[in-house]
């Protein structure tokens, strides 16, 4: 199921602006990896380059090699939609499809990719909602609109939608930043559970969260505004938060940065 993600010399641009420079990083299967760093340091850009969402914006492009179990997703003959089916993504703000019911939201990925049989869809929806710890809360109102749920429920709905297509890797871009502490806890619990089956990479501004949920942590930073973001340190979460190897990392996690 879960796959290894390996970045070699990944450099991303927005037009002529270089957002991240030469990122080398390897993520083990069935682990949670946290990307931390100050705003604008390129961690979200790096995350979005892992499932080729970066290039959705006009003028954006990526150089370098990014392999999923030794398959380079930036090869010319790679189908972008296949990459994204293999590497799911949860966004900062919950974005359920407003015209769809809860059920249709969860199976949107399957339905829009051609799965029609009702029994298959129903099984997949129940499985994904149970995995996302949402089944008990919504099982009686699957026909109601997804936008009617609370913020935390919507985010778990989006996680269910992501894992319903059975990806190998799940990317999360600050998934809890718009949520209250209780919903955040629910999603962190969920990450522990999902770790058994998926490789999870999460961008977070919350260092306690990074320390709580991740096995390994990557610290990104920039020299000055306008400079590209660089990977400063990448190690086990325990090491980063107790005995960081770089002065910059230490300054950041102790709050002496910027």
């Amino acid at each position: 199921m879960a796959k290894r993600v390996e970045a070699t010399g990944v450099t991303a641009y927005y037009g002529s602006f270089k957002a991240i420079d030469n990122i080398n990083l390897s993520v083990e299967p069935k682990t949670v990896t946290a990307l931390i760093g100050p705003s604008g340091c390129g961690k979200s850009t790096f995350l979005r380059s892992i499932n080729r969402m970066h290039e959705v914006l006009p003028g954006a492009r990526v150089e370098g090699k990014l392999t999923i179990d030794s398959e380079n997703i930036y090869d010319k003959d790679v189908d972008v939609t296949a990459v994204r089916r293999m590497i799911g993504m949860v966004f900062q703000r919950p974005n359920p499809f407003p015209t769809m019911s809860i059920f249709d939201n969860v199976v949107a990925g399957l339905k829009l990719n051609g799965v029609r049989r009702k029994s298959v869809l129903e099984d997949a929806a129940e499985k994904a909602l149970r995995s996302a710890n949402l089944w008990d809360e919504v099982k009686d109102r699957l026909g109601k609109p997804g936008a009617g749920l609370s913020g935390g429920q919507q985010q778990r709905l989006c996680i269910a939608r992501t894992i319903a297509v059975e990806p190998q890797v799940v990317l999360m871009d600050e998934p809890c930043s718009a949520l209250d502490p209780i919903s955040t806890l629910a999603i962190e619990d969920l990450m522990f559970k999902l770790k058994d089956r998926y490789t999870i990479i999460i961008v977070t501004h919350n260092m306690q969260q990074a320390a709580r949920v991740s096995d390994r942590t990557a610290f990104f930073s920039i020299e000055r505004t306008g400079d590209p973001g660089r990977l400063i340190e990448y190690d086990s979460t325990q090491k980063i938060f107790s005995n960081p190897g770089q002065k910059k990392t230490e300054d950041y996690i102790t709050g002496r940065f910027g």
Partner: protein, 358 residues
């Protein structure tokens, strides 16, 4: 200076203020109208309309000073502006109500079975009957054909501009769509007359130019297309980018994202834009007069022979010498408005059918 002053530091402000009772406003209104009527009728400078307008102004002045004396300056400004906004709303609705009332009261006279079953064929100046059957058919066919041409073209064009278009070419398309929005309907009619009726239609008609309902539909298309493109474009832009990204992140291809996520989200707005353009096209007279020729007889075929339309029918009857014609014109106008209203309601219901109940 104003009568409400901030309390000195350390002094607790009072949250209660004196209020003018509601009956006072009624009193001010009565006095204002009375004074206004006395001025207008006394000096003989105007009737009830001027009385009303002058009364309104006097009312607002009276409210301002009365409230200022009792409640303070901030409250006085608030009340005066409220009165102004409410009267602006009434002023905007009055013409609508007047039009509706005039249409219904004058249009009901001939709103009978004969009107919807007969044409104007062989109806002389002394015949009280005659109807708009031929015109209703003409309007439905012409607007229907125009809609069939412009809705797919306009919506697809807007999708291209928003989702695919980049650079100078798209800029040019948008620019020309904007220019097209301002085309007077008579120019659209002349264009179709010169291009379709005089140049193209002779090929199908043994060399002779031919008026037809289809030519009218083409002219209406020229008018409808820019409205549909622009309104659809604005609606598509309102669909939040995270929705598209959420769909891409599930491995859904772009065309399917547009079809299944973007369009359904923007659908109510798109339908509104389409209905506005259809309403405008249904009310156009000049292009139909120019290229369909107008006809008093029933003609079901939009491709051969002249055709009328409801707006043209109203135009012709309003200018007709027969003393029965004005009644027919009013009923024609009422029918046209009712037709557009029914179409709009039907389209709104259809667009809402997709929504899931809460």
């Amino acid at each position: 200076m104003s009568t409400t002053t901030l309390p000195a530091p350390g002094q607790s402000p009072t949250l209660h203020t004196k209020r003018l009772p509601a009956v006072a406003f009624l009193g001010i209104a009565v006095v204002a109208l009375g004074v206004s009527a006395a001025i207008c009728y006394g000096a003989g400078i105007g009737g009830w309309v001027l009385t009303l307008v002058l009364g309104l102004i006097l009312y607002m002045v009276g409210v301002y000073f009365a409230v200022r004396a009792v409640e303070g300056a901030r409250s006085a400004r608030n009340r005066t502006w409220s009165a102004l906004i409410h009267s602006a709303f009434v002023l905007a609705v009055l013409p609508l109500a007047s039009v509706t009332w005039t249409l219904i009261s004058k249009g009901m006279e001939r709103f009978d079975g004969d009107f919807f079953n007969a044409s104007m064929n062989n109806i002389g100046a002394r015949d009280p009957n005659g109807g708009a059957y031929h015109a209703i058919i003409g309007t439905l066919e012409q607007v229907g054909i125009a809609a069939a041409i412009t809705i797919p073209l306009g919506v697809l064009g807007a999708i291209y501009i928003v989702e695919y278009g980049r650079g100078r070419f798209t800029f040019l398309i948008r620019f020309f769509v904007d220019v097209m929005t301002g085309i007077p309907s008579i120019v659209a009619g002349l264009f179709v007359l010169a291009f379709w009726v005089l140049i193209v239609s002779p090929w199908f008609n043994d060399g002779a130019p031919a008026f037809s309902g289809f030519a009218a539909a083409l002219a209406l298309s020229v008018l409808m297309l820019p409205t549909i493109v622009r309104s659809t474009e604005e609606m598509l832009r309102l669909v939040p980018a995270p929705l598209r990204e959420g769909s891409y992140a599930l491995g859904v291809p772009k065309w399917k994202t547009i079809l299944k996520i973007v369009i359904p989200t923007a659908l109510p707005g798109i339908v509104t834009g389409i209905m506005l353009s259809i309403a405008r096209a249904a009310g156009e007279t000049a292009p139909v007069l120019l290229v369909a020729g107008g006809s008093a007889a029933i003609n079901f075929n939009p491709f051969t022979g002249q055709q009328g339309s409801l707006s043209l029918f109203v135009f012709q009857q309003a200018g007709d010498a027969s003393r029965f014609a004005p009644a027919r014109a009013w009923t024609g106008a009422l029918t046209l408005v009712a037709l557009v209203l029914i179409l709009t309601i039907a389209a709104k219901l259809l667009a809402r059918r997709n929504r899931i109940p809460r």
